[in-house]
Symmetry: C2
Subunit: 179 residues, 2 copies
DNA sequence: GTCTATAGTACGATAGAC
DNA sequence: GTCTATCGTACTATAGAC
């Protein structure tokens, strides 16, 4: 793995576990196993780290959308199924960027909005009824909210959700929307 | 209004609009119209501000639970209806405390978990099926996530939800769970 | 009860050796 | 490509006048 990726990983995991405040250049460098000077060779500023993370998220969302389009069980079920916390690359990037977005980082907010719009659009190809499409999107948002609150590290926490539990609910929403 | 409340309001609104990083003692004091020294007379430390905000949230949640218990349309419908962003006192306090929680503030995380558990418990008195109760809780979480991402200031933003849109969905979930 | 002044610390970023 | 040393800034909190 390149030093650049290691630094981006350290930045991402710190954002997620400790928040934006605690994610200092010193802390990121330490976690990646380099000095602050070493970090700043690869990312000239803290803003460059944020831009790198957002670019990573954009790429992962693109991949996710392709899989969502191809999902055998349809986009809605794919979306909810994969919004449950798995610790996957997209989950982690999304929670980290959400942290930036909440600190009023404009580009992070834009990236989050972009991703949500595209997910909603794909859900819309399966369910005509707008309210149902929105409700399905909200279920995913709720799952990310829960993951973001706890730092997203403990998958066995009470109140955490499983796909097995949630999929019948999605089925009902889809069925009801078709009637 | 007491100076204490004015300072707490300033702290809360800054957390919400600008994030934890930008919520410095100087910024809070300026928004409340006092000097830094004036602020520190009422709240001896930044931690005291956080504790004050969490206490405020606890009180508002308590009030909300009482209204939720007494709601004519039942706790589930009340919960979703009031989770849509209204700019009310509870909404604002909740988003602000969520910001603290995401910066790894342990007491803020505890307060969020406490509130969610109590809401879920009340929803559970109406809905026996656990999966449905969780789905309803998730809808509310999703609504707060959306509000938190944008800073919660613009109620007319596209992708925002209305109670009119969401209530039929809740009705369907409740009906389906009873069958 | 509110102010100014300032101490002490930690941050982001630069400079230059290797 | 990575390091150490350091500059300038901004933060939390204290001290003491009014």
């Amino acid at each position: 793995m390149s030093a650049r990726d290691a630094l981006l990983d350290a930045y991402q995991s710190l954002l997620q576990e400790a928040g934006e405040r605690a994610t200092t250049l010193t802390a990121v460098a330490a976690r990646a196993g380099v000095s602050k000077g070493g970090l700043l060779y690869h990312f000239a500023s803290k803003e460059a780290l944020a831009a790198g993370l957002i670019a990573r998220l954009d790429a992962l969302v693109e991949e996710d959308l392709a899989q969502m389009r191809a999902a055998a069980d349809g986009p809605s079920r794919y979306y909810v199924r994969t919004s449950v916390w798995t610790g996957g690359a997209l989950d982690n990037a999304l929670i980290a960027v959400a942290q930036l977005a909440q600190e009023s980082h404009v580009e992070a907010q834009r990236a989050m909005r972009r991703a949500r719009e595209q997910w909603l659009e794909l859900i819309g190809t399966e369910v005509d009824e707008e309210a149902t499409a929105h409700a399905i999107l909200l279920l995913g948002d709720g799952l990310y909210f829960d993951a973001a609150l706890g730092g997203g590290t403990d998958p066995a926490e009470p109140g955490r959700f499983s796909p097995e539990q949630l999929m019948p609910i999605v089925d009902r929403l889809l069925r009801a929307a078709r009637e």
